[in-house]
Assembly symmetry: C2
Homo-oligomer: 194 residues x 2
């Protein structure tokens, strides 16, 4: 049945397959047997590459998080002003969502947030996005409120994406990004000092 693969190749394949399985069934809903079967091997093989189910899951969160981070960083690096930074950031975000539905569901789908260890990893990811957003609020405002608003903006993208992914259909990320970023930018400009 199963092709014999080199260790690194098998590891990659397992990560690939596990993302699919976890995204669809969740951490608790997916058993190691399920993943092994989907990968065309047996359980002990998984344990040759990952110490535990948790480690496998954590590795996935890490990897998917990196993909997201990298995409956004690359996209916004070119921007000079806040407005285009906003536009490019959202575009990168929605493009990522559009072609990594499984990744989105793994991180934000969720069920990952239930576990303290996983939740921390995911919070780190959203916190990074928020840190990129915070400076776009130009007005003088309480630091803690600025952080909260930044997280709200991140939630904006998440809320839209959850629906889009939930619909199951493909969507045009650039079109969505244009509208959402327009909303976000206008909103950010409207924040006033108290």
């Amino acid at each position: 049945m199963s092709q014999r693969l080199s260790a690194p190749a098998r590891r990659e394949q397992i990560l690939d397959v596990a993302l699919d399985v976890f995204a669809n069934a969740g951490f608790h809903g997916a058993s190691m047997n399920d993943i092994a079967e989907a990968a065309g091997v047996t359980k002990p093989v998984l344990y040759q590459h990952f110490d535990s189910k948790r480690h496998l899951y954590q590795a996935l969160i890490e990897e998917v998080g990196n993909r997201l981070r990298t995409n956004i960083d690359k996209a916004t690096a070119e921007a000079t002003d806040g407005k285009s930074q906003t536009e490019l950031g959202f575009r990168a975000y929605f493009r990522w969502v559009a072609d990594d539905h499984d990744g989105f569901r793994l991180l934000f789908g969720s069920g990952s947030r239930r576990d303290d260890e996983f939740n921390d990893a995911i919070r780190k990811i959203t916190a990074e996005s928020a840190r990129a957003v915070a400076p776009l609020i130009a007005v003088d405002i309480d630091e803690s409120h600025r952080e909260t608003l930044a997280h709200a903006i991140v939630g904006l993208a998440e809320g839209a994406s959850r629906r889009l992914v939930g619909l199951g259909q493909d969507f045009d990320p650039d079109a969505i990004a244009a509208e959402v970023s327009a909303l976000a930018w206008a909103g950010l400009r409207a924040v006033t000092p108290r």
Copy 2:
């Protein structure tokens, strides 16, 4: 140890205690024994009031969802124009979050989204919020995009709340609501027909 309660009283107490336990440990992380112990009874008592663990959880989602819905509906009923509708809606939302941390975490914390059945229940709740938001986008725009933007706005509140609840401290819901609703309203006004 355990006080002898009437059936309806016990049922209420179980719901109360279960919300606490589930909110903190998640659906899978909390065992029926945990809940029974927290309620000061034994497992079979739970099964006298709820058919299964899932039914108990579902009942909680339903109840918490109703509280949220009711609060928002009551608050926005008095509003005449879109702007104050937005303000009052967000204020009701954040007030609910502020005094029902456990409820918020149960619905959006989450882990509830992992299960199809639970996810549907929660989607229904956010979809209702979105339906209230959608008419605030006055411009002529594709219906599906309008829906997506409405969900984005709901995500706005969720994103802010998740951070606030995550910090573990109490917060002033009205202050947050003022800022977030200002952001949302300005953002909604900025959506342009394509």
